[in-house]
Symmetry: C2
Subunit: 240 residues, 2 copies
DNA sequence: TCAAAAGTGTTCTGTGTACACCCATGG
DNA sequence: CCATGGGTGTACACAGAACACTTTTGA
């Protein structure tokens, strides 16, 4: 393998990990799954779940495996997408560790199941991360910030919002996803028209659901389109 | 470091490389820089330039170094952005090599300078890649396809098109960048209005330039804005 | 009958689109 | 003078924003 190496003293193999930024919408909060580290470095500090990539798996397979091992989540029902690679040589005090960050999005998961490790796993509201709760380990705050920005942008031009909802959902639920993640109020009637006029975004199931109070709402399920055209742009307007 | 390892027989360190998808617009063609591999595997086949990440550099620094070593290009004048990580365990026949792909965009570079290695470096028109010219090494065709899609999308909502132009440029030149990359004709007068009405996209220099024939064109330079709002959407219309 | 949420309709305004037209230069 | 590309103006259709209004349920 060293036939490629130009100056073998300058190159060495690296540890490669995957880290997961797992988000869900619960009520009117965007939540991210964190673990409390049980080992040094950063012992006791919150961190994104993750771990080493194994010999014979793809990066995506590694992410799915960690999703299961660290959070007890079956990835087949969620949206998993690569966010990017983070490889600053000083990001891990123990040496060079390149991590591939993945974004995982899903409907309100039943329990923030503890991982197979000793670490505690829990859902944290994204809005409360800036202040206290202890600083995130490694460069995980950077990864999380990038993840958030990615979600906000993806809501505009993909149907990704639907993965935060269940199998079927009302337009109000879908709108709440947008409102929570963008942090701004959207006009219900305009949102409705926009979504229904975007070909393939959602399709009616024919069923209805009764809200706590008020008229029953029609249920929809995910449509066939992933890319939205025209996109659902968030104007700079709309104070929350 | 193995304090993290859950099952050390399943984990091993990986080689980490950076690969570069370097694009420029020349005339009415989008060009990508390829090298002809001088070594096995895939000897003699075209490939993206790239190489191993060294011990003490960030991924971005590695990309900049390879840009210089393999293509003789000074990265300070171009746009460099991470595309993603590619880590299928079978992507390199010699074993596990995770590569971080970078996108590099710049104005028509003077010469497709050969690298410091024996390999030949040359600009290839993107339009001719699908057909012959030999298949690309490794998974580089996948990387290139992802890169293209990324550029096309980024043209819509960022001012990235300006990095394909020189220090100052006419609106026709800027429009040509869009037309070449999107592969569709744009109305000159509407393009003009759109660009000038987007705050911070370009700013007039006051200079003019004489085209081969016709009225002199005003020159512009890059503005302060990177994100365009509103974005410059390509409708599904406009046959080239 | 009231509150609350779903759903419809309407008006206003801005923006993309298509296209006609004028301007400045070299040949 | 003409050809060529730069640059301006305009009319139309459509889409988003704001908001009034109707419908359907439970309490």
């Amino acid at each position: 393998m060293d036939e490629w190496l130009k100056d073998s003293t300058e190159v060495e193999a690296s540890w490669v990990t995957v880290d997961l930024a797992i988000f869900t919408v619960r009520g009117d909060q965007l939540m991210v799954l964190l673990i409390e580290r049980g080992l040094e470095p950063f012992r006791g500090r919150p961190a994104l779940p993750g771990g080493y990539v194994q010999k014979d798996e793809t990066l995506r397979e590694g992410a799915l495996r960690e999703l299961w091992e660290e959070a007890g989540i079956d990835g087949s029902r969620l949206h998993l997408e690569q966010l990017g690679a983070y490889g600053d040589p000083r990001r891990d005090p123990r040496g060079r560790v390149v991590t591939i960050a993945y974004l995982a999005l899903g409907p309100d998961l039943p329990v923030p199941v503890g991982g197979t490790d000793a670490e505690r796993a829990y859902w944290a509201p994204v809005s409360e991360l800036a202040e206290g709760a202890g600083e995130l380990a490694f460069d995980h705050l950077i990864i999380l910030t990038d993840a958030l920005e990615e979600i906000r942008r993806k809501l505009e031009y993909t149907a990704v919002a639907t993965v935060f909802c269940g199998e079927s959902f009302t337009l109000s639920e879908l709108r709440t996803v947008y409102e929570v993640i963008w942090g701004q109020h959207l006009d219900p009637s305009n949102f409705r028209r926009k979504v229904l006029n975007t070909a393939g975004f959602v399709k009616p199931t024919g069923e209805q659901r009764l809200p706590p109070t008020g008229r029953p709402a029609a249920l929809y399920s995910r449509g066939s389109a992933w890319l939205l055209s025209p996109p659902l742009l968030r104007g700079a307007s709309h104070p929350a």
